[in-house]
Every structure is written in structure tokens, then in C-alpha cells.
Symmetry: C2
Subunit: 322 residues, 2 copies
């Protein structure tokens, strides 16, 4: 772990100068500042707790890394995150990082340079080696090995609930339908809960998964529809996947919910104008957003949190598909 002395040595300046740059607390010539920032970057240096906290109070900017703001679940989340930040006068920087780890690494660099006070990350990129729990970062749905604070809905209970609701609606051979990311994600617990509950109830079930992202939708659904004709209930890992399945099933003459009951996950439909209204496991988006920001504030202040993963309860929302 590089120290402030290492930075000073490489930049060819005094430790006090590095400190002034980090804390933005005194006059520093632009050229000197640049040298110090370059050294900080080269060494991958993070200021120590005290120095960082001192500075962090100055930056009132939080970066939000999302796969895509265009997705309704993420845009709802972003809405509440911005609202919660605004209460304390913090500003939001938005980054669509889908499939672009270099964009996420750039924001980690900004954090290192104290240009942002913290990061909220919904990342599916593999940036594991670039983060540590010392820095003010809170993840949503993505559970890092390195003990990064994570806020998520109770995916495991959501999976159990979905299985129970499918059975209650009459399904005798329910399937879990999803995609698997290369890195561990909290969303994988949806499948675990589903399997646990099926085994507990002694229900025959199917697990259908392909690597994420699904590039060929046709192949994905055709294989499922061909190989699992006897499935009469589906728990799709997201609402979008559920909706996509329903549309394809319809073209094959499969009726939902008459022939197959379908439950999604997310609860993205906030208007009852478009059909089918999905039966779904609703994530408490607003609560997740507000809790994420409140935990981030604590990390910015240097507090140690008592948990690594914060799971918020989900509810089943009855729609037209079960």
C-alpha cells in the first residue's frame, strides 16, 4: 500500500504539498497539482482515513454507475437516489457503464482524486481488483468478494415467494428462467431461493440458464420452448425477460396464464396502461435507493458499518399472468 510519502517522492514535492492537493486546503501551483495527481494515479494511492474524510466533506458529488439509465428499473432507482442526495445538497453524476469497465475505472480514479465523494455502483463489469471497502462505495445487487457494502432486495426470499405463488396458481412443473453473469451477483440468490422452496415442497422443477448477456434471443427462447413443453409455470429473473417470454409464447399459441403462469422480478410497471400487467416480485426501489445513500454518507464520514449486505424485503404483486 503506497503512502503519502511515496507520492511526495515520485512527485518531487513535500508531503505537505501532497496533503494540500488532496485536501484542497491551500494554494498549490497548477503544475505542482498536476504532478501530484499524476503520482497519485501512478501509485494507485488512496489517502488515509483522516486525510480522506477531511477532504470528502468538501466534495458534494456522488457518481452513479448504471448499466443503462434507459432501463425502467434503473431509471426509477436513479430518480430516488438523486432525490435522497438532494436532501443533503449532494449532486449526482451519472454514468452508463454497461459493458464498459474502463468507464467505471475512470470514476474510481475520480474518487481517488477526490473529485467525487462516493460511488454508487450497479456494476456487472469485473472491476473487483480495483475496489476496496476502505473507499466510499456502495453496490446495489452486486456482491463483491472484497466486502463492499451492498444493498439489495431479498433475492433469496423473492425466489422462494415466486415458487410458492406459481404453485398456488396451479403450476406443477415450474421453471426458473435466467442468465448467469461471470461474476457473482446477488441476483443469483433468486434461483437459490426458488430451488430451495421447490425442494422443500417436493415440486418437480426446471432450471434454464444461459451466459449473460443473452445475445441471441431467438435461440434462447426456441431452445426453451422446444425442450420444456411440459413446463407450466415460469419464474423469470427479471420482468423484461418475463415479458419477452410471454410475447414469444403467445406466437407459439401458448396462453398466459391459462397454459403457463408467469412471474417476473423487479416490479417495473408503474402504470396500469400496458398489458399484460405482470405478476412479479416487487423490489422496494425507493427504500433501496434511500438506504444506499444513507449508508454511503456513513462511509464518507468514515464510519464502520455493521453489515456487508443489506437485504430489503420484497412483496408479491399480483398481475394478469398468474
Amino acid at each position: 500500500m503506497p503512502s503519502i510519502k511515496d507520492v511526495a517522492n515520485i512527485a518531487g514535492v513535500a508531503v505537505g504539498t501532497v496533503s494540500r492537493v488532496i485536501n484542497n486546503s491551500g494554494s498549490v501551483k497548477p503544475e505542482t497539482r498536476r504532478k501530484v495527481e499524476k503520482a497519485i494515479q501512478e501509485l494507485n494511492y488512496f489517502p488515509n482515513e483522516v486525510a480522506r474524510n477531511f477532504k470528502m466533506r468538501k466534495s458534494k458529488m456522488v457518481a452513479l454507475l448504471l448499466p443503462s439509465i434507459w432501463h425502467p428499473f434503473f431509471s426509477e432507482l436513479a430518480y430516488y437516489i438523486e432525490d435522497e442526495l438532494d436532501r443533503e445538497g449532494f449532486k449526482l453524476m451519472l454514468c452508463n457503464s454497461g459493458g464498459k469497465p474502463e468507464k467505471e475505472l475512470y470514476y474510481l480514479d475520480m474518487l481517488r482524486q477526490n473529485k467525487v465523494a462516493g460511488i454508487v455502483g450497479i456494476t456487472y463489469n469485473d472491476i473487483e481488483n480495483s475496489v476496496s471497502n476502505d473507499i466510499p462505495i456502495v453496490s446495489i445487487d452486486r456482491h463483491f468478494n472484497k466486502k463492499i457494502t451492498c444493498v439489495t432486495s431479498d433475492n433469496y426470499e423473492g425466489g422462494r415467494l415466486a415458487l410458492r405463488e406459481l404453485v398456488k396458481a396451479g403450476a406443477q412443473k415450474p421453471a426458473f428462467m435466467g442468465s448467469v453473469t461471470s461474476v457473482f451477483s446477488e441476483t443469483m440468490n433468486r434461483r437459490k431461493g426458488f430451488i430451495h422452496e421447490a425442494q422443500t415442497l417436493g415440486v418437480d422443477y426446471v432450471i434454464y440458464e444461459k451466459p449473460d448477456p443473452i445475445v441471441d434471443d431467438d435461440a434462447y427462447f426456441n431452445e426453451f420452448l422446444n425442450e420444456h413443453r411440459d413446463v407450466d409455470g415460469i419464474f423469470a429473473i427479471t420482468d423484461m425477460l418475463a415479458a419477452s417470454y410471454i410475447e414469444r409464447a403467445r406466437r407459439e399459441g401458448i396462453r398466459v396464464p391459462e397454459d403457463v403462469k408467469v412471474i417476473g422480478y423487479d416490479g417495473i410497471q408503474d402504470h396500469p396502461y400496458f398489458h399484460p400487467i405482470l405478476s412479479t416480485i416487487r423490489q422496494p426501489v425507493e427504500e433501496m435507493a434511500r438506504m444506499t445513500i444513507r449508508l454511503l454518507y456513513k462511509k464518507i464520514e468514515g464510519e464502520t458499518l455493521d453489515q456487508q449486505v443489506y437485504r430489503l424485503p420484497v412483496v408479491f404483486k399480483q398481475g394478469e399472468t398468474t
Copy 2:
């Protein structure tokens, strides 16, 4: 118009010091910086062209003011705006300003203090008196009196197109359905185009409008449904309004498109999974977003633009409602 000298006088510093603060170009003691910033704010001072451009090149941040990122049209727009900014290494700050003019004024202040390089604003708040065309701001859909650059879809042609498509689908008494904001908005041209085309074709038509925002949906639709039973075609000012009407009409036993043809505006449905798929006037969202940012760059560089309003062509997208 206050000058840099006025700022220096009020702050009790030399003009060169004010310049260094504005341009972030040399050492300035934090306390002095604060005095200068306070004076700039008090005087509502904008640095002159040259000084501003010099500085602007340093800030790589653009603020996006949206009524709400949660709305699908705005989240699509934000997605492309962030993408276009990213190409030049600019970062996006996001602000949900719906009904909160003070939030928008705050960002104008940040612009004044050179903390952001420019602003993209979809504002329905009345901040007219706080903006001028000298500053790097581009509006979307909102046409200020003060000659602020505005990028919009061709609302007028969209209105004409909608009327023609309703008539083509068989409507004999089409209605325009909307809400009116207190400040002029480009979207008002949707109604104008609709009326123009109806008069040109000699078609009998209805204009149904209430003040924006519509607070009582029930009252809004009930009055329409009671008073305009003979209407057999509707051009709704947004897709959401179209969808909302269709759901209410269905409950009244009115079938769409059999009894009433409906056309919306926006083109927010990007997946064919939810029904009805609206017939709509599709805004070229991606092109609007990219053009907005390219124009903003020009304003940041101090270029004079040749137009005030940039209108991009719309297309009719056939759905299930005509």
C-alpha cells in the same frame, strides 16, 4: 451588466485575482476565492466571452435538468446525452427538477461559478429571467423568449401528420387532447399543426385542453368522455396520455381502434412486449440528444449559432391503436 472590475471592487481584491479565480489558473488563497465567488454571485456576474471560454475548457461537466429521469422518454434521452458527452470525455450531472425551479437556479449558479461547462435543460419551470443566450445552455422542447438555443422534434409537422393518419384510419371527428403549460413550450406546436391540417382538409375537430399538470385524472377524462361522445379519433399530446385514455375508454366499453383511433406522441415503447402498442409520432430521441450536445459544445467554445430552434423530423409509427 456588471464587469470584472465591479467584482474586484466588491471582493476587495485586484482584477487579476478575480481572473485567476474564474480561470482557475493560479494560486489563490481559499478565503480570497470565497470572497470573489461571493461577489460574483451577488452581482450575478458572468465572465466575458474570452475569460469564460478559457475556463470552460477546463470544466468537463454538463448538467442535465429533467422534470424526472423516471419517465421513459427522458431516460432514453439521458442515455444518449451521456453517451454523446462521453465521446468527448465530458461527464453528466443529473437533476430531477420537476416543479422545483430552485434546483434549476442552483445549477445556473454552478454554471456561473464555472463548476459546470454547460447546461441541457428540459425545464417547465419559469426560470426565464435567470437565463440568457450568452451562457452555454441548450433547451429541449422548451422555447424561451430570450433566444435560448432549443432542440426539438418537428412538433408542428408531427401534429399535421397525426391528423392525416387519424383521417386515413377512418376518423371523421378527431380530437386533440392535451394540457397547457403556463410558459410557452415547443410542444404547443403539436396542437397548431393538428388544427392547421384539419382546416386544410376541411375536417371537423375538437380541441380538449386543461392546465398542466393535470391533477385530477378522473375529472379530466370524465369531462372528455361525457362531452365528446362523437369523437372517433384522438391525437394525445404524449404517449402516456394516449395510454391513459385508452385504459379509461376500455372501462367505458369504448374499443380502440374499432370505435376510436388513437395516436400518441414520443415513441416511448422500445419493446413490443406490452400492449396496446401505440400508434405514435416518434421523436428522433437519439438524434435530438446528440445534436443538443454538439450545439452545446459550440456554445461552450463561444461560437455563434445560425439558428435558435433546431427542429428534427418525426415519423409516424404504426401500432395497434389506429
